[in-house]
């Protein structure tokens, strides 16, 4: 099994190396004439107004948080799914309970408006 991961490691090395090589090649080929106009930040063709920092809405954080909960749930589902053939009926009921609890959480988030965008 480790040999499979050796392939993945080689794949990772080459996958990271290829863009780097490509970028080096482009660096050799392209012109390099910086001037302040070109280097300034793009803001719809005007000068930048105000600090480059935006008020970060708590909404993004809530989405990420609900995502963490469901991501972990999904990870729990996979070993159960692989072993399902060997489980008796209690395997099914326990997973139903697990999913029901999480659906309850989703319902709560829904009702409290955590899933709205505004």
């Amino acid at each position: 099994m480790l040999s499979q991961y050796a392939l993945i490691a080689v794949l990772a090395i080459i996958a990271f190396a290829l863009p780097v090589v490509g970028l080096l090649l482009a660096w050799l080929l392209r012109p390099h004439k910086p001037n302040p106009m070109k280097n300034s930040t793009y803001e719809c063709g005007m000068e930048t107004i105000g600090e480059t920092w935006v008020q970060f809405k708590a909404q993004y954080y809530l989405f990420a948080l609900v995502f963490v909960a469901f991501d972990v749930e999904a990870v729990f589902v996979f070993p159960w799914a692989v072993a399902y053939g060997k489980l008796a009926l209690y395997g099914l009921t326990e997973m139903i309970l697990f999913v029901a609890i999480l659906l309850g959480g989703l319902m709560y988030a829904w009702r409290k408006g955590a899933l709205e965008w505004q």
């Binding site: 990772a12 080459i14 490509g22 970028l23 930040t41 480059t52 990420a64 799914a81 399902y84 099914l92």
Partner: protein
């Protein structure tokens, strides 16, 4: 003749045996790995060269125009012209941008697109690495793109890039949950996460057994690649170019390659999970036909995705996120539990499959009915608001 029946695998064996004649074991393995890795790493590049042309032609025809036709016959060299252009354009790094992170982001996202191909089964025993956790590996590599996008948006030192990055990350996270749950449903049906085994288990292609899971996964796949109708972030009229506004030249090119590589990868995964991968008439007898069937199916799925891009209107971001959490996640969970219940029924497999199909259609019908009612409610609310406003104005 026998050699030709399983041509690619036999070729690999002959090559390895020849190498082993004069090289130690580890060197042979290393050379084999490097060759396979180079082939796999080329897939997103090939995807970009071919699919960009295909997309511009298909969308062009949908929009009743011809698409590129100047550079070579039917414009097939258009992609090469674009590639040369990207190579020689000046690379502008904005002031006060975080240079190392700025340069690393395109590398990371391109690398993720390439690593995805390591577990895709092109044919029987023609897979980079048939990992025990193949299905999860795909999701994990997909989550790498999220990190790369945050890096790109933040290091550009540009308000629009940052906002664009956050919004697209919110979209990616929201659609990852139903995607993982759909994959879990297929894994449940097969009993293994190995991609090779998922193909082997499809005596009946799973799209016929679980059509709604196919629909959910395809929609999530489209959202994950950031294409229309979920491309609010790249729409030029909206937020410039979103998180890669400040990128130019080949760095932008790598984002582009990653996008098309992901498009083809999603199509390949859909083919593997739902359309039977490399299976087809005669593939059991002559495995060399496997990759051909696989390629045909992938092109069909890609065409479907391009068709959707050309015809559906764009979602608003709040509609998009609500659709993911309120419709797709419950639907995916319902599918998962239904398949689980069906698998425990003391009935032959065929009956189980038919009942799963029936359950899927019930879920689809329920979802559409509820969506229809919600839509009517929203329309009624808007009309009431309009009437109130016009009432106020008139009075």
């Amino acid at each position: 003749m026998n050699y030709l029946r399983d041509f690619f695998v036999n070729l690999a064996h002959s090559w390895t045996a020849w190498l082993a004649g004069f090289l130690p074991g580890w060197a042979v393995s290393l050379i084999d790995y490097v060759i396979v890795a180079v082939i796999l790493v080329m897939m997103p590049v090939i995807a970009t060269l071919t699919l960009t042309w295909m997309e511009r032609k298909v969308i062009g025809r949908i929009q009743n125009r011809i698409g590129p036709n100047r550079v070579g016959p039917w414009g097939i060299f258009q992609a090469i012209a674009d590639a040369v252009k990207m190579l020689i354009k000046e690379d502008i790094i904005p002031d006060r941008a975080d240079k190392p992170v700025f340069n690393l982001a395109p590398v990371l996202i391109a690398a993720a697109a390439m690593m995805l191909w390591g577990v895709i089964p092109f044919g029987r025993r023609m897979i980079g690495a048939d990992l025990n956790i193949g299905a999860l590996y795909i999701v994990a590599i997909g989550s790498l793109s999220t990190v790369a996008i945050i890096m790109a948006g933040w290091s550009s030192n540009n308000k629009f890039a940052l906002i664009g990055a956050f919004r697209i990350v919110a979209q990616l996270l929201s659609y990852e949950v139903p995607m993982v749950l759909s994959i879990a449903t297929v894994v449940l049906l097969v009993g293994s996460m190995r991609m090779g085994q998922i193909v082997e288990a499809q005596t009946v292609p799973f799209i016929l057994v679980l059509p709604v899971v196919f629909i959910v996964y395809t929609l999530c796949g489209i959202a994950e690649t950031g294409r229309s109708p979920f491309d609010l972030l790249e729409a030029e009229s909206e937020i410039v170019a979103g998180y890669f506004t400040e990128y130019s030249g080949l760095k932008f090119g790598w984002f582009y390659i990653a996008e098309y590589g992901n498009l083809m990868a999603i199509s390949a995964i859909v083919t593997t999970l739902f359309l039977g991968g490399w299976r087809g008439p005669g593939a059991a007898f002559a495995p060399v036909l496997g990759p051909i069937y696989f390629a045909i199916k992938v092109v069909l799925v890609v065409f479907l995705l391009m068709w959707i891009r050309g015809t559906w209107p764009r979602f608003r971001i709040d509609q998009m996120l609500q659709f993911a959490w309120k419709v797709l996640v419950p639907a995916a969970l319902a599918n998962l539990l239904w398949v689980a219940i069906m698998l425990k029924l003391p009935a032959p497999v065929a009956v189980q499959y038919v009942l799963m199909l029936a359950g899927n259609l019930v879920i689809l019908f329920t979802a559409l009915t509820l969506l229809g009612r919600a839509a009517k409610r929203v329309v009624a609310q808007q009309e009431a608001k309009q009437q109130a406003e016009s009432g106020l104005v008139a009075a």
